[in-house]
Each structure stands twice: as C-alpha cells, then as structure tokens.
Symmetry: D3
Subunit: 237 residues, 6 copies
C-alpha cells in the first residue's frame, strides 16, 4: 500500500558513514533511503556571549539544502538574502534536540556547531539531520575526550529522530517524499536511547487526529528510533 512497498512500521534503509570530511572535528554522511544529509561538527573554544564566564558550553545547529537536492531546483538561500522560515525552524529544532543529551557543564566553555546540509532530499531531512548530527557530535566529543580536554563525557544519552504520519488513513513510520507530500497529518519524534521523549511535533495541514492515533504514532516512533540508534552504534565502533 505504501508507494515504496514498505510495511507500515518499516523504516527505510539506513546508512551512516562516519568521518567523511577531512576538516571537521566530527562528520558523517547519513542516508535514509534516498535522503542524504552531510553532518559536520565544528568545535570552537569559546561560547556565545550570553554564556561567557558561566562554565557552560553550547551546541547549536545550522541546516541548509543544496539548490538541486530537490526535484525542482530551489532558489539558493544565500542568493535570496535570507533563510526561509522553514529553514530557521528546522535548525532551531536540531540544536534544541541535541542539547537535550548534552551536559553543558561537562562540556565547559566550548561551542559545537552542527552543520546539516541536505545533498539529496526525499522526505524526512530534519530527522536524518538530527540522527546524523548526533553522530557528528559524538565523534567531535570523542576527540575532546581523547585529548583530555574534557574529563567526563558531556554526552549523556543516544538520541535520534524519526517522522511518522497518517498516510491513506493508516499510521506509517518514516515517510518518504511521496507519502509526506500527501499525508494530512505527520510529525517528528525525537527520543533518547532510554525511550524518554525530547520533542514531539505533530501537525496537520487540513486534517486532524485523535488521541488514539497519536498513541499509535508514538509506538511507531519508539520502534523507529530504536533501529536508528542501533545504526548509530554500528557506525561508531
């Protein structure tokens, strides 16, 4: 019934290739089916002004799509002179999510910027960015630990994100673009490895949903995030 032939609770093929760029302190290329996002972590030994002399670090994120990552070429945001509302929303979400698994005191007065650039889009880019962003962050923090720059591990948990939605009247896991563009209800679920929830964003465009449907989507999300975290573990040995 799904355009891809997947079962309702099957996620797409996941691939996480770590350490793909020579300059970044941490990086990976994450693929969820045809969605490909390059995630890099850049470490700076200073924090934004509002954290100076607090002993706390910061994790932030930026998100972008290459102009032809999509089916029809999008205008380059650098050329149009501003980031779209959607871009700003997504990068705020990624940064907020990743901070949920970071002990900013253990990190110390450092900033880690996670850049998530969509190389190819086929739905679910923000979730892939969070899941891959966690890997880039993990690799950068590993360098800090190895060098002795931080003593206790500032990353407190695994964290990943997956989208779920109601497609053709059925709750489905990990929507691709063909599903996402027609689903009346969909959402993004960010969970820790412990199963606790970090962020839930259910939204409906021209449709609504019941509490029972919400429960079913949460069940799917728990299953999906479990598989994503397994892939994260496999990628970082």
């Amino acid at each position: 019934m799904r355009p891809s032939g997947r079962n309702l609770d099957t996620i797409r093929t996941i691939s996480i290739e770590p350490n793909v760029t020579k300059h970044a302190e941490g990086s990976c290329m994450i693929s969820m089916g045809d969605t490909k996002v390059l995630c890099t972590a850049s470490l700076e030994d200073r924090t934004p002004p509002f954290l100076r002399n607090t002993g706390l670090g910061w994790v932030t994120a930026e998100y972008g799509m290459l102009p032809r990552s999509t089916n029809t070429r999008m205008r380059r945001e650098a050329a149009s002179g501003k980031q779209q509302g959607r871009t700003v929303e997504i990068q705020r979400l990624i940064g907020r999510a990743l901070r949920a698994c970071v002990d900013r005191s253990a990190l110390g007065e450092r900033q880690i910027t996670i850049d998530c650039d969509v190389i190819q889009a086929d739905g679910g880019t923000r979730c892939a960015a969070i899941t891959g962003g966690w890997v880039a962050l993990r690799l950068a923090v590993n360098k800090l630990l190895k060098a002795g720059d931080v003593v206790s591990d500032p990353i407190t948990e695994h964290l990943a994100a997956v989208s779920c939605g109601i497609y053709a009247g059925q709750p489905v896991l990990d929507l691709d673009y063909a599903e996402d563009s027609t689903a009346g209800v969909d959402g993004n679920f960010i969970l820790l490895g412990t199963g606790r929830l970090v962020e839930v964003q259910m939204s409906a465009e021209g449709a609504t949903f019941s509490r029972m449907e919400m429960d079913q989507l949460l069940n799917l999300a728990e299953k999906g995030v479990g598989e994503l975290i397994a892939a994260q573990k496999a990628a970082i040995i």
Copy 2:
C-alpha cells in the same frame, strides 16, 4: 505551589472583547491573565498566486510583539530588518492551525490575514493569538455570510490553543511567564471543539518527558481548550 497560586489545572482569567477596531473586518482583544493580544482579520478578494483559479481561499497569519510588551524592551523587528526565527515559527503555526477549521472551498478565492500583535506579554502569547485569532476570523466570516458573499459557512469548527508544561515536577495548565521561563518541558496544544487534535508541540530544553506525562498534559489541554471555547462562544453572541 504555582507562583500565581492557581491550581494545577486552572487557566488564567480569560477576557475576549470583540470588534475593538474600526477598520478590520473582524477583531478582538484577548487577555489571558496579563497576556494581551490584539487580533485583527483583514479580508482581501484575491488569493496568493499559487491558488489562482483553484476556487480555494487562504487563511494566513502574522505575529508581532510591541517592543515594550515584555519586561525588558525588545528591539523592534522592523528596525532590525528582519523577523526573528521565533516570530516566523509562531506565525506559521497560527496560520496552519486556523486553516484546520476552514473549508477553503466554501471560502472561495479570498484571503483572510490574521494579525496578532502582542500588547502585553506574560507567557502563552501564541496560544492566546490562536484563540483570539479564531474570534477575529469568525467575525470577518460572519460579515461575508451576512453580505451573501459566501453561501455556506467556511468555518467548520471551534478551535483554540493552550499551553501545558511540567513545572516543579508537576503537570500544569496554561503557564504564565514565571512558570514558562523555568519549566524544562512545555508544549502547545491546539484542538477543535470536537476534541480532535490539530497540532501538538511538546518541547524540552535540557529535560525530557515520559509518555505518561504526555498523557497527563493532553488531559489538561482538553480541559483548558474546553474553557477557552466557552469563552469564545460567550464573546460572539
């Protein structure tokens, strides 16, 4: 236990004054405790370009805060030359929410813009904007109906929004600023009069939540929205 002395499941005093401006097709001033938002509905007999010749109408929203609506003066967005990410997020949310209770085919090729301007802020401005925005929209559509410009009512349901969160370890309804600024977990819940969900945005800054807590917050939201819709009904006789 709450700074305001309210019970965990008590919302603030609601006041909705309809028809407060002379120019707008619909308007109200909504207060939720010390939060005051002016909502106006502006009607145009044309839609955005992507809807031309589709027979469908559009409802959109814009949001702003007066510079001294807050405790410390904020920089005026018109002066800084752009809307902040938070502003863009909120106005996208308001517009999306209101479209969930509109039959855009019954509306016809018209656009209604809901402007939500925060006169005084004390937490929960986006929820107040949605609840008050619905009233402004309702009043503007009533004019269309009265004039015979639309035949069947394009508004399909009541709709309101309320925030809930976990404050000092307890789920609470309708956070004010004193609570909102320290709650680790909070969210916005938008529901129809039927009880169906339109949007759920739970987010945590440096904290997480369980599925049981999520259920408790949904219970609170259902109670709060029920009372808000009663206030909407009382305001428009």
Copy 3:
C-alpha cells in the same frame, strides 16, 4: 463644512489614559478622535556610545503602525525587512521634539526610548504620538524622581503637537483622515507650554501657501496645543 461637522478651530475629542501597560516605566493610550496611539517609555541606565562619559542622557523614539491600524491593511514593516521613509522621518521627529523639553544633563547618563505604536489611524498619528509620548516620558521621569535617581526634574516644559492645514480653502485645526487625504497644504506644529515653537513642518503636495495663511495656521496651532496640554495635565494628577 468639515466632514466631521467640527468648527474650523475645534480639535477632536482627546483622551489620555495613563499607565496602561504593566512593564513600561511610563505609558499611556492617547486618542484624538478615532486615532489611537499606545505610547511607552522604556528606561535604560546607559546611553548610546556617542554620549558615554559626557554626563548627558538621551531621549529617542520609535514609531510603528499595526498592519490593520489603517483602512486597508498595510504590509508589516518587520516582514518587508525595512522601515519606510515615512516611518523613519516620523520617529526622528518625535525624538527631536521630546529632547527640546529635556535637560539632558539633569537626566544623567540614561536613555529613555519612547515607543509610539498606532493601534488605529485616522489622521494626525505623529502629533498624537508626540503629545502622548510626552506623557509616557513624564511618567517615567516621575519614577526616577520618586526613587531619588535624579535630583532635579529633567523635564523643563510641557510639550504637545497638533496638525493644521488648508482644507477646502480654509485653515482648519487638527485634520482627520478625511481632511488630511485631500488637503493640499498641511503641517505639524510642536510647541512648548510657554508658547515657544519647537518645530514647524509645513508642506504642500501640489499646492502652495501664503505668509498670511501660515500666520493663520500658527494661530490655530497655538489654540490646539493649549488644549492638548490641558489634557496632559488632567491625565497626570
């Protein structure tokens, strides 16, 4: 003869409600007929860089119109990314005018920002903003005096503004929108309580005026400002 039926030298009904917002150090809602402007004064204990270590304070102003304060919805300046020339002109005028009644040395190294936001427009918004802005300023300075933060009163005089113009060949006082939009000549007059002039801006769009007409307009302005200052005094007991 005037659309409102007023006499040539009659101003509109004035209403000044002080202390209308909870956060600002001083505030009022001023109405001149259907024109309503919310004026707030925000106090900061620092001056702009060019005044550091001079012992002098600063008073500045910002002006905005809510998008649907006007008959037809205007584009939100925050969304269009810049303030229009008209906005910039008006806020420079308000700030310059208010500084004419302030002893900046007695104020000390503080900045007071007057925000004037038009809630409903029906002509004469800049004059209402100056007259109401003076009230907000007065209230904020009263707090400084009461707290002993300033010793001698930095406000040296009452100050108010009124528009006058030539409508249908006759000099008239306090133009409303119906008059303003068709008057070939109109101007703004800012005076102290002593009757001395602070600013005169007579301008003609496609028309001109004689020195005798200018004298008649100045006579009207003196009368109008006298009544406005009486209203200021009544509002702040």
Copy 4:
C-alpha cells in the same frame, strides 16, 4: 560675526553650470560656496504603477553624498546596505518640492528622476539640491518641448530653496557648515518665484524659537530665494 565674515542676510557665492554631463537629459553642477552638488534629470516614457492610465506624469528625486564629500569619510550607503533616515528624508523633500511647480497633466505619462549627488559638502546640501534640481528639470523639460513631445510647458514656476537659522542669537541667511553645526534652530524654506511658500521646515535641536524669529527667518528666506532664482535665470539663457 559669522565665521565666513558674511553679513547676516548675505548668501554664499552661487555658481550654476548647466549641461555638465553627456548622458542626462538635463544637468547642472551647482555650488553654494564650498557646497557642490551634481544634479541630473533622467527622463523615462513611463510612470510608476500607481499612475498608469491616469494621464499624469511624475517627478521624483534621489539624493546621495559621495563618501568623502564630507570632512570625515562617511560609510558608503551602497556598502552598508541601506540609505540612512536622513537621506530618505531629504530625497522625499526634494521630489515633493519639485512637484509643486509641475503641471503633471501637461507632462503626460512620463517620469523625470532628479539625482542629486553631493560632490563636496559645506552645509545646505538639500537646498542646493532643490535649486540645482530645478535647473536640471527645466533643461530636461526644454528638450521635451523642443522635440514637440509635450505641447504646453509643464513647469509652472521657478522654485528654489535656502536655509536660514539662528546663529549666535541672530537670524542668518544660508548657513554654512561652521554655522549649521552649532545653530540651535535652523530651517529650510522652499519658495516659488511668485513668493508663495511650498515647504517650511523649522526645527530646533535643544532650543526653541518665537513667532517673531520665525518671521525674521521668512524675510531672509524671501531675499535668498530671490537671488537664487536670479542665478537660475542667468544659467539658462
């Protein structure tokens, strides 16, 4: 008593050199003492959208200062990404003033843009821009008349502008920078050749003025504009 040794009612040496650029339909270099402004008139056979199919033409103006026209280099507005408030105010003034002497119906659906670029600044640049702008406009319109593109002369009057102010307690005509930077009260007066007033902008920074002083300044302005119009006539034979 004046820094330049001029009498109170003496304007600076005026020089108007017409036809200084090869491309513009009309142009002049105007000097008022050390203030030098290049004025060009550019003619287009179309009007702005709001005038389409009205039969009316439009005259507008733009103003700029070369970065080192001033004593200390100013930041280039093109590099800073926006025109300052002062620039916008001045160019709106120039355009509005010039339209006061134009019969827009006789001009027909054409636009003439007057560019006023300050090559060297020593006070009074906006007045020089108006006086020189009129010459550029006159020359461009002469071409239209000569070519038979317009039948009756759209320019109805001579028009010029001069600044006056109160310097060291005395009303003075045509302030240079040394005076302008210390005068508490100064203003710009725009008059037709008939003596009728087009615009009066008296403003005070930290000072005020009486009606008697205003009369004295108007007397000076009438004298000054008379001499400027004589120079305009001499420049266009």
Copy 5:
C-alpha cells in the same frame, strides 16, 4: 620542493564521478586531490527575461561552499544574508566560461543552471567547479539530445580550467591550499579543447610577474587542461 611532493608540472589526482544525484538533469562529483565539488545542472524550459523571444538560451552558474568545507568553519552565507564578493566573482566566472563553449542558438530558449557546491576545499575550487560544471552541463545536454528536444549539439567544445602560480620562485601547476595561501602570484586559466584561451586571470597580492613568467604559466596551463579534458572524456563514455 612542493609541499605535496609533486613535480612542478604535475596536477593532483583527478576523479570525476558522473550522475551522482537522482534529481538533477546532469551531475558529477569532481575531486582534485582533497578538493571536492558537487556540480549539478538544472534545466528549465524558459530563459531570463532579457532573452525572451530571441531564440537564444542561457547558461548560468552559482557557487557555494559548505560552512565546514574549509579548515576553519566559515559563516554560512544564507545566515549572514548575502553572498560575499568572492562568491559572486567566482560564480560569474563559471557561468561566463561555460557559455564560451555553448551555441546558445542551438540550445534554444532554455536555461541551464550549474550549481557548484564545495564539499571539501583544498585550493583550486573555482577551477574544479568549471571542469566539473562542464561535465554536468554535458550530461544535461545529452538528455536534451536523446529526447530530441534539441537537434544539433549546443556544446561546441570541451572546456576545463586549472590554476597555476609562482610558488617559492618557481612556476607550478595546480596549486593546493598549502601553496595557494603563500604564493604571491597565481592565476586561473580556462581553455577549450582546441587550446584556444577563454579566460586568463593572473593576479598578484604583494608581488608582480614578468612576461616570461606569464608564458611559462601558460605552458603549464595548456598541459594541465589537456589532462583534465582527458579525465572528462573518461568520465562520460
């Protein structure tokens, strides 16, 4: 003597992987040593306004660097709100160069946009972008030919670019970042497969060069471009 141990006239390892993205009409990933650029060609069936109804097509280019493509993270241009001067220069160069090998009449009223996004930078990104951009263009045009949308091949020649410079007093071919950042003189050479020159940009920062040195650099460029065109041919069978 070169940091990489290469001979003076040896280019870096070239790799051109064609058809790397699913959406673009043509694409490749080009690597020159550690420099990696993703080039995509996007086809539209309309031209920019200035070419409407001329029968001519257009080829244009845009260039960007991912924020962490460089050793130190660069600010994202979309976030800073404008493209830097360097970016604008480079993308104008790429577009101009590619148009030199295109018969725009044979292309017809179509636009092909070449996006060149630097994934990893190690010197010579603009030359890699041109060489790889040609491949993306070639692949997109092949689709047009195959579909019969164009009849005669609009691409008239192979075209590639290489940098040369004077490093440690010696003319060298294909500078990497270690060389580029210290070379006083360097340049970019764009040549056709026929050996004719399309663009030469020699520039010196704090150094100069003789005509003999210029000749030596041209010799190196001819050698390098020959090898690059061989790689292009190998990539598109």
Copy 6:
C-alpha cells in the same frame, strides 16, 4: 575603422586634475576621453582588525557609479540595498592593484581608502579608477611624508591600468563604450612603471583568443600604461 577614428594603438585623451576636493587627503578627477572618475584618498590612523599590532598598513578601495553616469539611468545601489557583483569585483581589483605598489610596513598602521566614483562612463572606468586612484594615493602619502608621519616612502612604483581587446578582429588599445559593448574579447592590464605585470584579466564573452593575440594585447598594454604613467607624472609636479 574604430568608431572614434583612433589608431589601433592610440589611447584616448588623458586629463588628470589633482586636488579637486577640499576635504580628502588626496584627490584627482581623471578623464579618459568621455570617461570621468573622481578619485579621493581618505587617511585613517588605524587599520582593519586583522592587522592590529602587525606594524602593517592597508590600502583599500571602493567604487561606485552615479546613477546617471551611464547612457540609461542605473538603479542607485544604496537604494537597491546592495552592491552589484560587478561593483564588488571592481573595487576588490582596485584595492589589490594599488597594494602591489605599496610597502605596507613603511606605511605603518594606517589605512588609506581610495573612493572611485564614476561621474560619466564611456568604457574603461575600472582602469581609469586605478590610474587616478594611484594619483590620489600618491598625494595623500605625500602629505604623510611632508608631515614627517612616515619616514621612508611607502609607494614603491608608479602603477597604471589600461584595457585592450579584440575589436572587429583587430587588437586595439583603450576601448571606449562603443567598442567595449561589441568586443568579444577584452581585458584589463595593470602594470608597474618598471613594466612588470600586476594583474591580467582577459575574458571572452562568446569568443576565444589565441596565445599570439594575447601577446599582441600585452604589447598594446605596455604602450598604453607608459603613456598613462607619463600623464601621472605631469599631474603631480
């Protein structure tokens, strides 16, 4: 054969008038035929941040065209809110070129900004700006030497620029607009007084060139720059 009747190797009439503005430390008006550029040098006793405490000075340039310097009025860059790509390219070129003849250590921690504003354009404005910019720079540095603020002359050489191109199949020197707008190949050549090359920018729009043609253009450039440097010497006695 050339539209102007000049020989293939004849430059236009050069005129360099030094010290044309009262405020700038150095200035000249340079004319190359109908192309007129005002060049000013502004001296500041501080460098950009990246040079603080290095003992080195900086020379930079900005370029602009007056809106009606061209045949058809161009939009004012300050009004459109950004400098075009062409403007940015040109001012980067001017600054880079002038730094090639400056010993930045002898200059000390000072910045000299060369503003080049095109008063009238007829082709070759960037070359005129460099040649005239050198004169403005020379005059400003002379003041420093005279005042004893620098001890040894920071200017190491004369420097000038000229354009050459292939017009109607023939290499020609110093293209005017009539030639420039139709030449398929043209370039800018910047040379020192010693004959060494500083920058060569040959570019072709829809055409290509051979190495022999490149040699011929270099010969013309050497001749032209020689004559320009003679004019520089004549202007500064």
